[in-house]
């Protein structure tokens, strides 16, 4: 466990040079959230935006490792490849959770301060869950991709994959006739459980794939 802690500290310390950028982008996001809150009753996209922002910074640690070739150096330290991968997943998942935490605070505070609206916890929690499922899906594709192709090379490919997924989903939405899904309402109480299972499943499968790729990788 100590080894993973060391790698998490490394990733965290690497990000300190992004401090100014991070504060600036958080402020820009805050302004956008405030503007949105003025037009709607709840800053729904706020938590998601903050989660995405944290996730982007977490993923940037892959670029740092690649640029300094520290991914090579790390393999000389007393660590197993599995621990190296696990630390990255812990770091990326933590970024989503911390983003969710701050996103929730913002989602509650800003509508209250701007429009004096009391928090709608149902709405905030479903937004958070939706955002976390989406991010778990994105990170679960992104991380093995980076292990396979590298942070720099993988970046373009991951955008292309995401684009294909978005286009495919849009086409399905446009082409498939509207289906009456109201029968699902009776299962609505299961949605949080399904969401959490989806998140865990995404990361678990992705972790296994990353381990398989990285075990064969020669850096």
């Amino acid at each position: 466990m100590n080894s993973i802690k060391g790698l998490l500290i490394k990733d965290l310390l690497q990000l300190k040079s992004y401090k100014k950028n991070f504060i600036l982008s958080t402020l820009i996001y805050l302004v956008l959230i405030i503007l949105e809150s003025k037009n709607s009753n709840i800053g729904n996209t706020g938590p998601i935006m903050i989660m995405f922002l944290f996730s982007i910074y977490a993923m940037a640690t892959f670029n740092y490792d690649e640029k300094s070739k520290s991914d090579r150096y790390i393999l000389t330290l007393p660590l197993t490849r599995r621990e190296i991968i696990l630390s990255k997943y812990v770091f990326c998942i933590s970024s989503v959770l911390i983003g969710a935490f701050f996103g929730t605070i913002i989602g509650i505070l800003i509508p209250y301060l701007i429009n004096n609206i009391k928090p709608n916890f149902d709405s905030i929690s479903s937004t958070l869950l939706g955002g976390m499922v989406a991010l778990s899906f994105i990170q679960s594709i992104q991380i093995p991709y980076i292990y396979k192709y590298g942070a720099e090379k993988g970046r373009l490919q991951i955008y292309l994959v995401m684009m294909v997924i978005v286009i495919a989903l849009t086409l399905i939405y446009m082409l498939v006739p509207e289906i009456d899904l109201s029968f699902l309402d009776i299962y609505s109480h299961l949605i949080p459980i399904i969401g959490i299972i989806l998140i865990l499943l995404n990361y678990f499968v992705s972790f296994k794939i990353s381990c398989k790729i990285y075990n064969k990788k020669e850096v």
Binding site: G6, K10, Q14, S17, Y64, Y73, T76, P78, K216, V219
Partner: protein, 285 residues
């Protein structure tokens, strides 16, 4: 002397390059210099020894242990310096200390700070602001600060000025004072190895072509410089390889004294490692 590192029949094939049947044995208490031109296979061998790449065949044992069983235990006791790879340049030595405390059981913060002070390396300065000499000293400092028994160093003196190189060689000599310690150091700056190494291993085109005590190489080996007429009279078995130059022939021989008794040749020089390397690579038999 017990063996600290043993490599048997190591092979690794790439599309354009191949490590062929590498055998190495490093006892405790010595510095082994690993020489060869760029692309000869030095770094690939080191990566194999450190389990950074999957080898095709071969048996690698460090401290008598196999990586498959005791990878972490082995790496706890190795200090590594790689030529062009280290922590992110955004970090400071102070950050590295915070990280390494968790990664090595034996990380010695006091020793790390003592080395930093000895080498005049500022603890709060980002790595990107370090000169190449300072960076190399930092890499070595990090490699030494968890009390390793074996140092594996890939080109630790390349790109450094003579003073920085000399300081780094002093560190190696100091480390080797403990008879349980060994150093395996690759370098194409052979003069450095002439100063510190006990053994020389020479790799060429993925094959180890020479493995010898340094003193034997420098004291017994010789470079014969002779005319064509003299060269014709020399038996093939009495030299290793020869080079034909514009005005003379250069022959690499394994035993200067023996050669002197057999042939009447005026010039037999003591070789440098560079000359030995050159004739091995460029010469013919």
């Amino acid at each position: 002397m017990s063996e600290i590192l043993s490599v048997k029949n190591l092979s690794k094939k790439y599309d354009l390059f191949e490590l062929k049947n590498i055998n190495l044995s490093i006892p405790r208490g010595v510095i082994v210099g690993f020489i060869g031109e760029n692309g000869a296979g030095k770094t690939t061998t080191i990566k194999s020894i450190l389990n950074m790449i999957n080898v095709d065949t071969g048996d690698i044992k460090v401290f008598g242990n196999d990586y498959k069983e005791k990878e972490k235990d082995i790496k706890e006791k190795i200090g590594v310096v790689l030529d062009n790879s280290f922590f992110s340049e955004q970090l400071t030595p102070s950050d590295i200390n915070k990280i390494m405390k968790f990664l090595y059981k034996e990380w010695d913060e006091k020793l790390f700070i003592q080395y930093l002070n000895d080498f005049k390396l500022p603890i709060e300065k980002m790595i990107k602001e370090y000169s190449s000499g300072m960076l190399m000293k930092l890499k070595i400092t990090v490699a030494l600060s968890h009390h390793p028994e074996l140092l594996i160093l890939d080109e630790p003196t390349s790109g450094l000025d003579p003073i920085a190189r000399s300081e780094i060689l002093d560190i190696f000599l100091d480390f080797i004072q403990n008879e349980n310690h060994s150093i395996f150091v690759s370098s194409h700056i052979t003069s450095d190895l002439e100063t510190v190494a006990d053994y020389i291993v020479f790799i060429n085109k993925g094959e180890i072509i020479l493995s010898e005590e340094k003193d034997k190489l420098l004291d017994d080996y010789g470079i014969v410089r002779c005319t064509e007429d003299e060269f014709i009279k020399i038996e093939k078995d009495d030299y290793i390889k020869y080079r034909k130059n514009k005005f003379d022939y250069e022959l690499l021989i394994a035993d200067r004294n023996n050669f002197k008794t057999k042939y009447d040749v005026k010039v037999i020089d003591k070789p440098t490692l560079d000359e030995i390397m050159l004739i091995y690579i460029k010469g013919v038999k």
